[in-house]
Amino acid sequence: MKTLSPSLTTSPLAKQWLCFASEDLFELRTGKVELGQGISAALMQIACNALGVLPSQIRWVAGDTSESPDEGYTAGSQSIEVGGEAWRCVGGIVRSHFSLAAAQFLSCKTNDLSLKAGRFISLSGESVSYYTLAQIENNAWFNLRLDIEQPEPVLLHIETARVKRDDLLIKFTGAGFIQDLKLPDLWHARVLRGLHPDLYPLELDLVALNALPGIARVLVQNNFVALLSRDEGALIKAHAQAKLITKWSTPNLPIELDAEKLLPSLPFVSHMVVESKSVDLDPCLPAHTLQRRYSRPFIAHASIGPACALAESVESGIKVWSHSQGVFKLRDQIAQALHLNQNQVQVCHAPGAGCYGHNGADDVAFDAAFISSTWGLNVRVQWSREDEMSLSPMGAASVVDIKASINDVGRICNWTTQVWSPTHLNRPGWGNGIQLLGAWSAFENCLSPAPKDVPLPTGGGLRNAIPAYDVGDLSIEHHFLDTSPVRVSALRSLGAHANVFAIESFIDELSDAAGIDPVAFRLNHLSDPRARNVIEQVAAQANWHKRGEAGTGHGYGLGHARYKNKAGYCALIAHVEVAERVKVHKVWACVDAGMIVHRDGLLNQIEGGILQAVSWSLLESVRWNAQGVCSQDWENYSILSFNDVPDLDIQLVDAVQHPSLGSGEVATGPCAAALGNAVAHALGIRARHLPLSTERLMQAIEESND
């Protein structure tokens, strides 16, 4: 029996996934939510194809704890692999079950049936719908299980239609986001917080806070202080003022240093994670050994829309609207923190601005839930830009040290990696305790989870730390930091951004030492045909063989990885020009994410992955000082401008014989590496520390002169 999608283990009955509402309305459910990544269209495509229904016949219910199957987080490029696979299976089993019923009803053979718009049609033209068949044999349908083998009759024909994203019009012109939801008798609230999650008010001037224009109520429990108003505009002004007139504690933060100096200076615990000996019978005699250190700083999620949530007091408890990536875990955490039963808390997903990982979405949902349940109010809480950029978790910094030897013909004999990083995951529900900012301040004895990272093979700080190449003897050591100067949690691709940047930069340095072209050097050490294919394809796309000499100011660089060493393949070439700063002219990419489900959605994810990685890798770094985070707004935290958007040329390998894989994170690491290698080619000098800013390039040039 083939392996089931884990989603089918938690929700094993077909009726948990769909309901036949009428002849022409199918209510389909998923736990995977729309984060702006276009996943709803891709999942609907899978469901429509499997069931033989039209997109216009579907009501899509995603991420409602009272209705949807629990599919965990919408994260880690798992929505197609897990959520899509679940729907492929659900659709197949439901179709098969009803084709048998339809054949009986229409007195024909299943292989004479066609399926069109939710109706089974016999050769003679008679037809019956899913809806009618479900009414006739209610019991069998209600008990239909997804985790047992079923016969899958082959039908004559299943008509399919292309699904297009249908959420953009309302998102462009109207109330398309959680920020736009309204409740009766609604209060707007903002929580008073400093510039770092560890800060708390030393004294509260409640008279002054209550006197701020527009403020109707100030709610206080322990260090949780919320300002309430009926007027959001007045609240925003009052909240900014309140922050200024409040005296804050001082956080105990280490002085900000470059990541490569800071992380190894903080306390860490070391684990040897991989130690393997070469299986090659040919002895490899090291002729030349290289050791290099690379790093990336803390990076902000920096959503364009600050986190928002609404909560309503209802008879059964509280109903919360959230743009969280994990509504079920959030429900459990809110219930635990507020000492409620799970069934007293309902969390419904509503679309927010892009999050790219664990940002403030869950925290603000707690803020709203806490205010609503404690004071019995209907409330909407939206964070400020400063809150979003200083309090929500950041992507963790990493330092990656690699040492390897090559023999006299340029073959890698051995490879040692050491990674210093705090955890890359602190989502609510990860570890024991509560991972919600407001709960820590509202309840004195609220236990926050002990930090732990994601183990390999998925990996957090070690995601993609294992080189894809045949490197002989291999050892990998993790130096795990259990503290961090800023709050950290999952950011798109986790440790893969730093690790792929380091490995692929180092591979270029080795190829240079061996005097072998970087593409040829990679292919010499790579046996996986799909990895070889994307590298060869992208080299052809970009005319790699014409890239020319190093040090001309123009450079071409390659980066490649298989995401998590088990998901999609991406090879990418960047063309940069380096003068006072790095200008990216063009990026070519070739991606193999298995069988393509939704081509435009896939392209959109890869384009976005590349452009966001350009932004991170050239510009971004979270900053702090003795008072807290000081990259708290767009003036102090720059991201990619339209002026600096490179041309993109993306090729997709439609590997129909392979399972479909997620692609939201495939390009991140390869893009960082391609940029690093292109800059090194342009300058003839290597910058090993992200971001590749003017300051960092000057540092590299100075060091090369020493």
């Binding site: 984060l35 702006g36 276009g38 959420d167 892009g354 976005g608 452009l611 767009w634 990619l640």
Partner: protein, 158 residues
């Protein structure tokens, strides 16, 4: 009371004259298309047209728009140029999360009304007043080019 036109319709606003237009449009005009992104005029998510000029509504006090026409993305389907721009953005699927979209649509509509044949450099320079975090920039640029082409073909502007 402040009298303004909201997408060409006369409305009376009962708001503190120093309140910012962003919140007044959202709360009093039932117009959710104007988005709060930063409140400090950096990101462009709240861009509206005031008598045809693109402005960040988060920094515009209500008193300053007395008697003026405020156009928002809510009114795009009824605007000759805006409709074509909107259609091009949907055709090109020029978004991921779409939160920056309504502000960008307004800026592009203003640009193409004033300079229908704006070249690539001018388009990029104009859009550099907007931040997009998802990396939909390349699609957005393609959508602007498509809108230019369609406007020309439909003779909406010559």
């Amino acid at each position: 009371m402040t009298d303004i036109k909201h997408n060409h319709r006369k409305v009376k606003l009962n708001a503190d004259p120093n309140a910012f237009l962003l919140h007044v449009l959202r709360e009093q005009c039932d117009d959710a298309s104007v988005r709060y992104g930063c409140g400090s005029q950096h990101c462009g998510a709240c861009t509206v047209l005031i008598d045809g000029q693109a402005e960040n509504a988060c920094g515009v006090p209500v008193w300053s728009v007395e008697g003026r026409n405020v156009q928002t993305a809510q009114g795009l389907p009824d605007d000759a140029v805006g409709r074509v721009v909107l259609q091009a953005f949907i055709e090109e699927q020029a978004a991921q999360c779409g939160f920056c979209g309504s502000g960008i649509l307004m800026r592009v509509t203003a640009l193409l009304k004033q300079q229908p044949s704006a070249n690539e450099a001018l388009i990029r320079e104009t859009l550099s007043r907007h931040l997009c975090r998802c990396g939909a920039h390349a699609r957005i640029l393609r959508a602007v080019r498509l809108a230019q082409k369609n406007l020309k073909n439909e003779n909406v502007i010559s």
